[in-house]
């Protein structure tokens, strides 16, 4: 159990940021499935940047 926590800690420090990151990926996936594959990249970058901002501001 201690090792599971260590491995989790390797990737996640702020669960909110990790969650927002995954939501951003989901949005990019939906956009690319809708035929907007090039726009999806820009949206992904903007959503991830916004996620970082939310995470650091609530620190």
């Amino acid at each position: 159990m201690k090792w599971v926590r260590k491995v989790y800690g390797l990737f996640v420090e702020d669960p909110l940021l990790a969650g927002l990151g995954l939501v951003s990926l989901l949005a990019a996936f939906l956009l690319s499935r809708a035929g907007l594959a090039e726009l999806a990249g820009l949206v992904l970058f903007l959503l991830l940047s916004l996620s970082i901002l939310i995470s650091v501001r609530r620190h």
Partner: protein, 240 residues
Amino acid sequence: MNLYVLVASFLASSVEFVEALSIVLAAVAFGFRPALRGVLYAVLTLAVLVLVLGEGILRFVPMSVLQGIVGVLLLLFGLKWIRKAILRFAGLKALHNEEQAYARQVQKMESSGQGAFEAQATAFNGVLLEGLEVVVIILTMGSGAHAFGSAILGSAIGLVAVLALGFALRSPLSRVPENTLKFVVGIMLTSFGTFWAGKALGVRWPLSEATLLVLIAGYLAVAAWYVKMLKAGVARHEVG
């Protein structure tokens, strides 16, 4: 040879090796042989892990699925680093200091009073934990870009550079600009993660691999802006 992967792997691994070296140097103060034994056991454990995971993953998981998983993991890894770096540069989190980390480790071992065993266990734990991060870097970078050779080479150059510096200075590497390195690495890992995870999910990057440079520049600008904004907030708070 993939230069992007080589540089990213070199920088990210070097940061981990610097941290591992500080822990090992603290253990050496309590016994050279047990510390060396701890390092050896940790390296063997890591080698087995890489062989089992690396071979297993490549043999049983399709490359497209692997790129998706690796991209997501790399993105999470990068977001963690970039967040920490922004907070450190904005003055909201203490900067990492290898000399302090070294002194803390020595004090911890002095208070336990178990000498040799403690030295071996400390070196083993330190190398295994920091090494695990290097393994993650090599596996994710290597499999994401089909460039295991570049990832391993970058990491190996990092190891040699850190060992050479450690030998030359014979002290914790506090002169290495570790916090700046972490900032750069956070931006690179987040850019790689965005690129590969996005690609696996169907995103079409207009400039192919060269989009990585645009992403790196973009995240760098965004992070610098956040640091400036947070610093201004801290200053306002102190005045108020």
